[in-house]
Symmetry: C3
Subunit: 390 residues, 3 copies
């Protein structure tokens, strides 16, 4: 029994089966077939391996982003001078990946809870019955104020008048603020971590540099005016009504080469359309939100309401790393071999159905397990061909 | 020499090799094999190509989300009327993708830094030794206050009493607030950008619409009560203790058709379990946080502490775009051909080991490089068959 | 006509073609070829299927994270005692995935808008001409103040003096704060949702547990000191100048087994380098931001400016789920068959070009469609071999 198994194993290792093939010598089918095969080979080598780098597996990164603004703004509204520092114009203050820089505002100071008429021109009323509670999404008291012909509401009084947006924007000086971005990415599959403060971007360099797509593409300090310009906006319009800008940090890395060559690129683009467009039906223009500072004055709770117009920055990290991996390589080769098989099938179809000598080739290629009544001659022809080879 | 190479190239292009095949005429093996082959073909065409769209490559988007709440809340606590506008009830105010809408609160006004006893019933003490520093995660002074039988602590005084959550929730009016979502997505591989303000969702439409899964599925304005209902909560319970709701914006797009057909769908689901469940051992119910407003009164720093119960909305963008790509197409075809090869192997095994005429087929299929002592007859049979074909 | 089609179908189902093969009995080529084939098979089974789980498709999750800090800090600055609770030391207060815990601060109280000289030693001036507007990114008034020999600026006065960072850090007690993380993940392709409050992590458990990598790896409550230690920092240094720590929640799940086995693991690592390093040219050390509390005093707007040094926590959710899928399985098998084809090609090349009997094997394998003038003998040899088999 043991020798039986040994024999079987020995047989297994001494034998080797390989398909028998017909070598068809025919110019037409040969040229077509070789061209198809070369095409498949070129596709696999050039396209899959060189162009699309099919021998690599890919990974995207998890990332974290911190930001820090610098710069001081200055306003002079009817003689009242004041400066705006980082604690005043950045929302939120702790340096998130998504933040707003105030560029314009409508301030309503000294609001306190009470009853006051709505702004003239808002919702015209002629009697108290026009001012039923809940209409117009306000807390109505049911009184129509004679002087303004508007309903009285329970609200923070005086109510905000945001009909006129200051023009030019009050904080045009925002153009010269600078933004410092720290970004760390980790590719979990490849266990590689990188920071946008790459080799050579040290303390001294950062102290003096300013990002420029050509001369300083790796400097992580950006002038706001430059960002706005690069994203295709005019600073004055975006500063007036607000807007949203995406800062894309692109990490496209190839870890088959030195990991230090993995460096970020920065791109800037406006989100939700350009306010310069004169499209009056555009769905939603500008960017603003309301923000309140509360205080106590003479034991009364009051607040200063700011309608903040500003540039909202969204820092978006986009990443794609590649590294050699045996599995995609062999999958690409394996399915490439399969496509080679397709090429053979195409050539066979051509040979067996299109060529004048197709019956001859059919008999060369196929051997039948029983004599076929349909075409006994071609069968005979086949064996005759074999005979003639002798 | 040159003619030698030319000859070789000429030979290469005139020759074409194709495998020789046995055409087995046997109903049983034929039917089985054809069914397997048709099955493989059907799998490749129907499943891989039509159902799973294996001819397409995929991409996920990078996205940015802005939100804006509208609506006014109203409370009447022991006669004191007040309204709550967006600047009061949204945290944070600048319209992030993740934000909280306050629906209930416990207010502790006029806190100042000082020494006061803990709430009665919290940590009973009988003497100062029970009140050593650091116990109970409070800053103890080592004094046991007689009147309350609790330890004295250094804290913002008076200490907050959050044992009773207002019921019904104070800001039930939150049900009628509306939420406006702006979402922009970019598919980097396909270089396509889309916004949830798709074609047809213009200024006029947005001014009047309200999201409804059936009648207005693309309207980006949502009533809070509707969102809560669609995510399976009862508004009253979630408003009382707070909760978390995920708003999933799903971009499943096929860029082989018109890019304008790429539209978002909105889904709502509760995160971390439903507070309606009567599960007392559930790990963590509700959602709340503490928020302080600081002010100065008579030169003394004071603060108003709000324990905010609210609905936390997390806007989650989920995206999957597909587009025709030559590589997955050919990989699918190539590996499909490979599976065809598996079908042949299965049929061969059946033919060579299961059929009664297996020895006959074996000799049809195989040719041996040397005469085999084991079965000379079948060898002979094979050649006889060939002879009988003549 | 109909019978013609029926015949064709009948023929199709009764026929079956299988390649004819040469069974080469040669030890050298047999062993090499079998080893290659076994290698390919081992690669497919062991590597692709068992190690890399090539029979599964993958999915990443969308997630939402909430956090909640607990603990009270205590400072005693020149006799003035005060405590810091969650509403004071966490930014932002609503429990985001990215937040800052204040550990040290420089406070500048009672700032009001006005004109005051810059700090001595900052930018030396000798006359007003040194103080032109806009230099040094400050709003200069053009006056050089004699007493300090610095320029007068329009600013929140008095200006902040952040030259000395309190050492030891004022809020060392932050070490004992605890952080509670709630994380919910959804794998959209597999339609599975999980929360980090997995089975068994109920209210009672959470009330008492504290995360420990060995004894309580699933407890979602973390002591700040532990996190800092596990991420490789010294608490005292990071508390002094601030720093950034990434908390990675890793969901690596196999949905072919019980979904309840899908549990998170927590990892901690410092972002952007360790402040313990004595590298003076490091690009950016520490983490801080400025934060202002506004109030009104005697009708004058004032603010308290805090330069906050703190630990910034970024909670990063990393996910990869796997589940059996027919498509990657069959793609792996199909391309595996293709690689088998490569093995045959290698063995054929060896047999046809390297072996001494290569001409013999060539004639066994190939059949020519016309008599070849180059080597008529080998052709004859081929047919003789067939004859000798009889």
């Amino acid at each position: 029994m043991k020798s039986h198994i040994t024999n079987a194993i020995s047989d297994f290792f001494c034998e080797y089966e390989t398909p028998r093939q017909v070598l068809v010598r025919n110019r037409r089918v040969g040229v077509v077939c070789r061209l198809i095969q070369l095409g498949v080979l070129a596709y696999i080598i050039v396209w899959v391996f060189i162009y699309e780098k099919g021998y690599q597996s890919t990974d995207t990164a998890v990332s974290s982003v911190f930001t820090k603004m610098k710069g001081v703004g200055y306003t002079n509204v009817s003689g009242e001078e004041r400066v705006w520092d980082v604690a005043d114009y950045v929302f939120p203050s702790q340096g998130d990946a998504s933040f707003v820089v105030m560029t314009n505002y409508i301030i309503t100071e000294g609001q306190k809870m009470g009853k006051c008429p709505e702004l003239p021109g808002k919702h015209h009323c002629s009697s108290g019955s026009d001012c039923e509670g809940g209409r117009y999404k306000r807390q109505m008291t049911g009184v129509c104020v004679n002087t303004t012909k508007t309903c009285e509401v329970l609200a923070w009084c005086p109510v905000e008048d945001d009909s006129k947006i200051p023009d030019p924007p009050l904080l045009m000086s925002a153009e010269n603020y600078t933004l410092f971005i720290k970004n760390s990415v980790t590719f979990p599959t490849f266990k590689v971590s990188r920071s946008n403060l790459v080799e050579g971007i040290d303390k001294n360099y950062i102290g003096n540099c300013l990002h420029d797509p050509k001369t300083a593409p790796l400097c992580p300090i950006f002038r706001l005016g430059d960002i706005v310009k690069m994203s295709g906006f005019s600073f004055e319009t975006i500063a007036k009504v607000g807007g949203a800008i995406g800062i894309v940090i692109d990490w496209t890395c190839n870890f088959d080469v030195d990991v230090r060559k993995c460096k970020p690129t920065y791109e800037f683009h406006g989100l939700y359309g350009n306010p310069d467009e004169k499209d009056d039906v555009r769905a939603s223009v500008g960017y603003n939100f309301r923000y309140a500072k509360h205080y106590l004055e003479d034991k009364v709770q009051k607040r200063t309401l700011l309608k903040v117009f500003g540039i909202r920055f969204d820092i978006i990290v986009q990443s794609l790393a590649r590294k050699f991996d045996i599995i995609p390589t062999l999958t690409a080769i394996g399915s490439g071999v399969g496509i080679f098989g397709v090429a053979t099938v195409v050539c066979d179809l051509m040979m067996l159905y299109l060529l004048p000598k197709r019956e001859f080739y059919k008999n060369m290629k196929f051997k039948y397990t029983e004599s076929q009544t349909q075409d006994p001659d071609s069968e005979a022809g086949s064996t005759e061909t074999e005979a003639s080879n002798k």
